[in-house]
């Protein structure tokens, strides 16, 4: 096992990694910027090294200084956490070239799966469902109709040269497809000088569901259940829960198998998350992308499976075989994670960095708070606005929601505005409670409704 591990990250995840290292008897070295000098990870790590000023580019993204710190502290492993350099295959390679273990997948696997287009090709080849559609630009209206009849309406007409919503239109039947295609081609020709359009299934009502996987260096990959992250605002996850309350056990099993298949195809090891879009109308899932690192919402899985994913990451990187097989994984209960951010949720979630006055986090059976904050801590404006992740684990979804309500009511944070109020309102939202939301719900409907 490693003797001393460097954490190339900050905040809550740095503290989270320190805690697991303490449990494993591994010394920790945390690097930090000048503005994080008084942070909890710095206080709690065995060794801390300042690597640069506040801006992430000059500190947490400064590969040169991080490697220099790793050498100075004489560490034998580096954990990148999430964000920052965690999905930077170049960094992973430099670390390994320095004969230091990088707690994460190989650079090759990172590149194969980190690039969306490459990953989709790989998924398709491995037999993992991707969004169905034409294999390339459609040659004629007849071609388009054929594809549409295969995959069913509604379909999306997408200019290959377009992007960001431009050159896209939806067709619900043959007539609108034919006329829409012609219009789309004309517009694409005019706008991009390229009339090519593809036809794809249009997912009208989507859930975001992902599978946590972990693999060792001996070729074993196990899926640790799913997480439903459909409560999003502008593609930012606000709530994550497990198991997803909208899919059947059969679909869950199929998704888990697909995720393992993809990881094995890429010779992937260490922790990763395979993200799927779930089409509520078609009751089908399609591969979206893969995150080749530990994720913010990993505690949701830990609560339901009694695992320590950070520990597993470190163990497999040290060469250990996974301590369980797929058959051993039997997630139980229901877990929900919400993010308490220093944001003014009633004012477009604008960030509110600043000093925390009184701080008292909830505690109790089934309640877990992952946080680096404390009373008197000043949230610096340089990084993200996360104050804490609040995770609950109950017998079932209703029980978890009840626990979450209690925990939110007990959470006392004076100073910056927080998103606690948003979550309290969400927990009273009939559509959220009845699992009737889609990934667009918060952006398009939630704020138009009067609070109950």
């Amino acid at each position: 096992m490693f003797k001393r591990l460097l954490i190339a990250n900050r905040g809550e995840i740095a503290l989270r990694i320190i805690k697991t290292c303490r449990r494993m008897g591994i010394e920790t070295c945390v690097v930090h910027s000048t503005v994080d000098r008084d942070s909890l990870p710095v206080k709690m790590a065995d060794v801390s090294i300042c690597i640069g000023p506040g801006p992430a580019k000059q500190s947490y993204l400064n590969i040169n200084n991080i490697i220099a710190a790793a050498e100075l502290a004489d560490v034998d492993a580096i954990h990148p956490g999430f964000g920052f350099l965690s999905e930077n295959s170049h960094f992973a390679q430099v670390v390994r070239d320095c004969k230091i273990a990088f707690v994460g997948p190989t650079s090759a696997a990172m590149e194969a799966l980190g690039n969306k287009a490459k990953a989709k090709t790989l998924a398709h080849a491995a037999g993992v469902p991707t969004v169905p559609g034409s294999t390339g630009p459609v040659a004629s209206p007849e071609d388009a109709l054929k594809v549409a009849h295969e995959i069913g309406y509604p379909v999306l007409i997408k200019a290959t040269a377009g992007g960001g919503g431009r050159g896209m239109r939806v067709a619900h039947n043959d007539a609108s497809l034919v006329s829409g295609l012609m219009q789309a081609q004309r517009e694409a020709e005019a706008a991009f000088g390229n009339a090519d359009c593809i036809i794809e299934a249009f997912v009208q009502r989507a859930r975001h569901i992902e599978i946590q996987i972990i693999g060792d260096t001996h070729g074993n990959v196990v899926a640790l259940g799913d997480r439903d992250c459909s409560t999003q605002r502008r593609h930012q996850k606000l709530v994550e829960e497990s198991p997803s309350p909208v899919i059947t056990p059969a679909i869950r099993t199929s998704m888990m198998e697909a995720a393992v298949k993809l990881a094995k195809a890429a010779k992937y090891h260490n922790a990763g998350t395979v993200e799927f879009i779930y089409d509520l109308e078609r009751q089908a899932y399609y591969f979206l992308e893969m995150n080749t690192r530990i994720q913010v919402e990993h505690p949701v899985t830990e609560m339901c499976t009694d695992t320590d994913l950070i520990r597993l990451q470190i163990e497999v990187e040290a060469g250990a075989k996974l301590p369980f097989s797929q058959a051993d994984i039997k997630p139980y209960g229901h877990a929900i994670e919400i993010r308490v951010n220093a944001e003014d949720w009633q004012n477009n979630f604008s960030p509110c960095p600043g000093k925390i006055g009184v701080y008292a986090a909830p505690s109790g059976k089934g309640i877990r708070v992952d946080s680096h904050c404390y009373a008197g801590y000043a949230i610096p404006p340089n990084y993200d606005s996360m104050i804490a992740k609040l995770i609950v684990h109950g017998k079932d979804r209703a029980d978890a929601i009840r626990l979450l309500e209690q925990a939110l009511a007990e959470y006392l944070i004076e100073g910056p505005k927080t998103t606690i109020g948003f979550h309290q309102r969400l927990l009273k939202d009939p559509k959220f409670l009845a699992n009737q939301i889609t990934t667009k719900y918060i952006d398009e409907e939630f704020f138009k409704l009067k609070p109950a």
Binding site: T34, V47, N65, L72, A73
Partner: protein, 153 residues
């Protein structure tokens, strides 16, 4: 208002836990403010090396430590731009690059900081020129980003 009065006011602040004093008159406006006392004291109360005396970084002086008494606050700091090991001479048998009194500017190598087998030549930042007033590190000392290497005045 003379220095003696100012000194008396600062003593007053210290003795009475004041963090801010502002005095304004027709002729004069004086405002004295202490650093975030609470947090600073907590940090200062921490041992310099929280653990693992063997760890090379443990010995690195916290860059935020207040300059010891006697230093002129107008002196400019030459800091380390990278974590590593500071060397005051080009090789073990050589003379130090600089010493107290040496005239330096942004073109003068004042020391080396070794990181990843690379010996980085450290020169004062543009704009810092004058005499070395103080050598703040010892030869072979581990330093982190921001560790003050020299004071120049």
């Amino acid at each position: 208002m003379d220095i003696k009065t100012l000194k008396e006011i600062t003593k007053l602040m210290k003795d009475n836990d004041l963090v801010e004093v502002e005095i304004e008159s027709d002729q004069l406006k004086v405002r004295l403010k202490k650093a975030c006392a609470a947090v600073t004291q907590v940090v200062a109360a921490l041992p310099a090396a929280p653990a693992a005396v063997a760890a090379p970084a443990a010995a690195a002086a916290p860059a935020a430590a207040p300059a010891p008494a006697g230093d002129d606050p107008s002196w400019k700091k030459v800091i380390s731009p990278i974590p590593g090991t500071a060397y005051l001479k080009p090789n073990p048998d050589a003379q130090n690059f600089v010493g107290v009194g040496t005239q330096v500017d942004e073109n003068k190598v004042v020391c080396l900081v070794e990181a990843m087998k690379v010996f980085n030549e450290i020169k004062p930042e543009a704009g810092i020129r004058g005499q070395i007033k103080k050598v703040c590190v010892t030869d072979g000392q581990p330093v982190e980003y921001g560790t003050v290497l020299f004071l120049v005045g």
